[in-house]
Assembly symmetry: C2
Homo-oligomer: 346 residues x 2
């Protein structure tokens, strides 16, 4: 039998500062059931799904900030219970991004993967590549991006995982049919969050675990004066196009380079009527082609059937890591964080 599964990106339109989490969850349930009605077996929600993208605002530490976070273990959240119940009942998995406040008071930009076959969260992730700044900008019209202020960098490894129950004929319990062959048995998944997708390192770390399907939620603002700075003044429309171009470029290139499918789910539209988000939720194949994408800037489900067998050609030929990679030359990638320019003349 072919390892075919149906996946969905659940794009979420504008969420305002005044929107309650309960209101948002109602919309998420509608998206979830819409995806299920189209046969989806995995539904991917955005980053920080339950609230507006609050890192664009400056809040003092304490309750005013913490109200955007989910405290303790999200698996026990009463707010989230209707979504967990729906997933359990419909036997559908999901990826979900949220602001996590741990019981010992740490703040993370997190996501998890819920397996309906196992009836629990089977993988947790905390965003590693936090964009933006710690201090707010001083120019009054600048748009802040305070993720470095509000979150700690993720402390969990990029651990790929097998998700059981999705492919007919895979041995129950999560092991692949023949124990090793890529594209057979239970699929190997990875998860990232937003800005992580622009960095080839996390994709490669997952790729080195045979990852066949990457799941990503994101919030990406369409107004991005930092792209070119003062080098090239752009209209808002040009900025939107540029940001969307970069989004698709990194999703397509990294899916191709790791011979995997990917599903990415966006926040879209204008939060509070003015903070534009690019949307652009899409599903990409292992040759880097977009096979399904959102058509709106609002709540929308994007669905595609994918055949994981399509990962094999790349993984076994042009990107057969074992035959082609030369790790003896890659040392700088882990030995230095920032730039060290060549100092001397040759």
């Amino acid at each position: 039998m072919s390892p075919v599964i149906k996946v969905a990106a659940a794009q979420v339109g504008p969420v305002h500062l005044t929107s309650t989490k309960e209101e948002v969850l109602e919309r998420l349930l509608i998206l979830f059931y819409t995806a299920v009605a189209q046969g989806a077996q995995i539904v991917v929600f955005p980053e920080l799904t339950l609230t507006t993208f609050f890192p664009r605002h400056m809040f003092p530490n304490g309750p005013e900030l913490d109200k955007f976070f989910e405290k303790g273990d999200i698996a026990e959240s009463s707010l989230m219970k209707p979504l967990f119940d729906a997933a359990a009942e419909k036997k559908v998995d999901f990826y979900f991004g949220y602001a996590e406040l741990t019981s010992d008071g740490k703040h993370y930009n997190s996501s998890f993967y819920y397996s309906a076959a196992l009836g629990k969260i089977i993988s947790r992730y905390r965003k590693v590549h936090l964009p933006g700044t710690f201090e707010p900008f001083t120019k009054p019209d600048a748009i802040n991006q305070l993720e470095k202020r509000y979150f700690l960098p993720g402390d969990l490894p990029f651990d790929a995982f097998r998700a059981p129950g999705l492919i007919k004929g895979a041995v129950k319990g999560g092991q692949s049919v023949d124990g090793s062959t890529i594209g057979k048995g239970d699929p190997i998944l990875g998860q990232l969050i937003c800005n992580d997708r622009r960095w080839p390192e996390p994709w490669r770390v997952y790729g080195l675990q045979g990852m066949e399907l990457m799941l990503i939620g994101y919030n990406t603002t369409s107004h991005s004066p930092e792209l070119w700075g003062s080098r090239k003044p752009m209209t808002l429309e040009e900025e939107y196009k540029e940001v969307m171009f970069h989004h698709k470029l990194v999703m397509q290139a990294n899916s191709y380079g790791n011979s995997c499918f990917s599903v990415c789910a966006a926040r879209a539209g204008a939060d509070d009527g003015k903070w534009g988000m690019i949307g652009g939720s899409c599903i990409i194949d292992p040759q880097g082609h977009i096979i399904a994408e959102a058509n709106t800037d609002d709540d929308e489900v994007v669905v595609a059937e994918i055949d994981l067998e399509d990962c094999r050609q790349g993984k076994e030929k042009i990107f057969d890591f074992d035959r082609h990679r030369r790790t003896e030359h890659y040392g700088r990638i882990v030995e230095q964080t920032g730039v060290k320019e060549p100092e001397l003349l040759p």
Copy 2:
């Protein structure tokens, strides 16, 4: 003053098995002078520039194979002397790909960078990511790619280097004006060869040295049945489009992800009237946009003026490695060559 330089890709059309190296060099000189006439200060030639792409043919070891190689130090080659002389006279640098046979009998797929200001080769490189197979295919109509048979993997590091004399006002001797600032002083260059460009690792190793301009020569066949294998039969026209799509995708994504310009020069057209090469020589900016590209499948010069100051925005903001990279999570990239799948259930 602005760090502006003019760069050129010298695309080379069909070269046949019967073409002599002297014939090819005549064409290269025409390309070189054409680029110089348009103001180019750096000219990038393809991979294995002096011959047809011989790894598509099976030759026994020995003289029949070695005739495609340049023996000893190419700086001393009488064949190449007219090109070195032209570069010295016109004060123009160049990148050049060739088959190298060292004095101790080792075969590499190599390139070098000649600095006119210093009057010598200042950087040498040997292709690290060799595609293809060691054994020829057994199917009579298969197209071989025997680079793993004919070449050793490169043993030189991905060392970025400063090229002096290109930017007015940069202090003579190759150091930048203020000793450190990216985009000022002499530009920081990197070189790769063909298939290397599909791997984010070498780009990142150069990026971690502040590289502002990547130079790449390549031979890429337009007939590529291995792309999808038997999964998706394609016409020759579809294969050509797919191969070109992947070429541009990796060039654009890696230039964006490392905030650098890049120049890539192809072999193009049909060698021996039947072995199609994609061409597609182009120049790309640090936001990943193609700013100039070849229009033909033949000998052609592609020229663009680039302002290295355009690298700074990316290097100092979204891809400020020092602030954003988290090397503690990247270990697998150097610790394992091939794939290790997750074995156990979560």
